[in-house]
Amino acid sequence: MLKKASFILLIAGLGFISCSKDPVSDLSTEESLVYVTNSSKSVNFKQYKTFSIVDSVLVVENDRSGTALTEIDRSLLQRIITNMEGLGYKYVSPKSNPDVGINAAWITNTYLNVASLPLSSYYGGYWGGGFGGYGYGYPSYYQYYETSESYWLISMLDFKNPNTADSTVNVIWDAQIRGSGIGSPQHIDRMVDSVFGQSSYLKIN
């Protein structure tokens, strides 16, 4: 009697454990967006006056790349120009030796991941916490799953001070726009405004 009862109780307890949650399922598209910017703090942006921008978006998918200029790409590039001009930079053609160049890219990476399940079903919910949306393969000890993530990457290159020794140009600022809503055309302006908005050190006027 006791043994049976304790066993049922334990199962009830483990039942609580295997409930997994997705705490961000209620985020709106706008709330899901993450803006990450990086800059060289040693750079004084006041030395730059002019800029130019690529004429299409670089699309990088796992080591393969090409270019594209869809409606959303055009809006992105246009909004970058608007923001740069607002910060005091003069838009010039790529041929007129701009001080900085801007690249925009859409990057998609696909990863194959492995998760080990040391105690099988008991740990299902536990490990599952991190991989929202992925099912658990209870019978196996190792579980493979594929994740794919895309993001916008905007980079600012220093054409004024190239490294002549090794023929490279420095990236002096970059911005990543991540999150589930990055492909929505109606949010493009807000995305671009946000990454420039949080980088007040770019302002030269």
Binding site: L2, F16, V24, E31
Partner: protein
């Protein structure tokens, strides 16, 4: 019929009826007094974050906490010992803000969570007997917590998972629905602490938990 015979007849009729109505159960102590017995409790818990956990990570109270326990109530002793497993979950959403780390600036809506699956052993000291309808007790517990710390920036997450030591001290009371019955309600207030340190959590996870449960006891 004389008077003595009448009285004798009266008692002869009454006594067997009385004996049937109430067998001599109270001449013996309750079986819950006589035997070491088992007691199972399922609890629902509300938790209020305390201390540095509340100040630097999550201050929002949580009502997504559950536990189940099984205890052995020892014969002729005010003590009981047992085990408890549970699930606790804290979550707080912060509006969009900038997080600066060196040369990197992140703008995001942050969602902070910490889930714990505590597995503990506990000891209770009861102030009144097992037949009493109200049974106040104090409790001390210790064990481990399977812990999952996750901070979401928008829909992106960072995670840390650990098995951390945990402990608790509480006061509570059992209320039996019926004298000598098997079912009752358990009310408990408990301080719970988990030793854990990661990013925002600098000095452990602590909370004051109030729980309401139902229990069943048997021998």
């Amino acid at each position: 019929m004389n008077k003595t015979a009448f009285i004798a007849l009266f008692f002869a009729a009454i006594f067997p009826a009385l004996a049937q109505d109430a067998p001599k159960i109270y001449t013996l102590p309750s079986p819950f007094d006589r035997y070491t017995h088992y007691l199972a409790t399922a609890r629902f818990t509300g938790a209020v974050p305390l201390g540095s956990f509340s100040d630097s990570y999550i201050s929002k109270s949580s009502f997504q906490n559950f536990s189940a326990s099984l205890e052995w109530v020892l014969r002729s002793s005010p003590f009981s010992v047992g085990g408890e497993v549970g699930s606790t979950y804290f979550k707080e959403r912060l509006p969009r803000a900038l997080y600066v780390n060196g040369n990197e600036t992140i703008s995001a809506v942050q969602t902070r969570t910490v889930s714990q699956y505590p597995i503990e052993v506990f000891g209770n000291y009861h102030f009144l007997g097992k037949a009493s309808g109200i049974q106040p007790y104090v409790q001390i517990s210790g064990g481990v917590s399977i812990l999952d710390y996750m901070v979401y920036y928008g829909s992106l997450s960072t995670q840390d998972q650990k098995i951390a030591p945990k402990y608790g001290i509480g006061v509570g009371s059992k209320f039996l629905f019926k004298k000598d019955g098997s079912f009752g309600v358990d009310v408990r207030v408990k301080y719970n602490g988990t030793s854990y340190k990661h990013e925002y959590i600098e000095n452990g996870i602590s909370s004051l938990d109030g729980s309401v449960g139902v229990f069943y006891r048997w021998w």
